[in-house]
């Protein structure tokens, strides 16, 4: 299973970004192979449809779970249609804390 976390920066101490579409980086992690990578969110500066474009990037990576502070209504629609789980942490958490929780 691969999951994606929307983050503010490209290191493991970065916090989860409060808004899915407008985050700077995505952190991808594969729980089976333990492989991880950062990809830049090229849609973050878009005025409109930033969320949908970002969702498109992630759908190409075959993720099954997305984690962010908030999802826009269009993104929720896209993810529901593609059967992808969305997770919103209630407290501010760093990437490494979330990885530890999922393991």
């Amino acid at each position: 299973m691969t999951f994606a976390i929307a983050t503010t920066d490209n290191n493991l101490k970065a916090l989860v970004d409060p808004h899915f579409g407008k985050c700077n980086w995505f952190f991808l992690y594969d729980t089976e192979t333990n492989q991880s990578s950062f990809i830049e969110n090229s849609a973050s500066q878009n005025q409109e449809n930033a969320g949908c474009d970002a969702a498109g990037i992630l759908l190409d990576k075959n993720i099954s779970m997305a984690i962010a502070g908030r999802f826009g209504s269009k993104v929720v629609d896209v993810f529901r249609k593609n059967n992808i789980q969305m997770v919103i942490p209630e407290t501010q958490q760093t990437i490494s804390e979330i990885i530890n929780q999922i393991k």
Partner: protein
């Protein structure tokens, strides 16, 4: 007898209770009550920048109904601004889209179709539904 109002679908309830004006010694006037469908209307229209037709479709109501709700929330916000009264989020005829909550992990999440109702982090059974 009046017709019963249809439930409006909202994606998520606000995560705080309302607003308070700064620097007032004593309370002035009555609190302005904004219900959840009105909160969602202003969120979709002015924060997520959807057109009224798109927003109406998301909330599963007709476009004229959406416009009416949007009008009403704009007036309420203006009233609270000018008179300096508190804003409270409360009530309304709403159904909240399927979101689940795990109190152990402190997360809110959706469940993909054809899966059991388990928290993705701690894998325990989910009990609290719809916030």
């Amino acid at each position: 007898m009046g017709r019963i109002k249809k439930d409006r679908l909202i994606q998520m309830a606000p995560h705080f209770c309302g607003f308070k004006p700064q620097g007032l010694q004593c309370k002035t006037g009555e609190d302005v009550i904004i219900n959840f469908e009105e909160y969602e209307a202003i969120n979709l229209c002015d924060y997520e920048l959807l057109t009224q037709a798109e927003a109406a479709k998301l909330m599963k109501i007709s476009r004229p109904t959406f416009t009416r709700i949007y009008e009403s929330v704009r007036r309420k916000i203006a009233k609270a601004f000018v008179e300096g009264s508190c804003i409270q989020f409360e009530g309304g005829n709403v159904a909240i889209a399927d979101w689940f909550k795990c109190n152990e992990c402190k997360i809110t999440f959706t469940l993909p179709e054809n899966t059991t109702k388990h928290c993705p982090f701690c894998k325990t059974q989910v009990t609290i539904i719809n916030n």
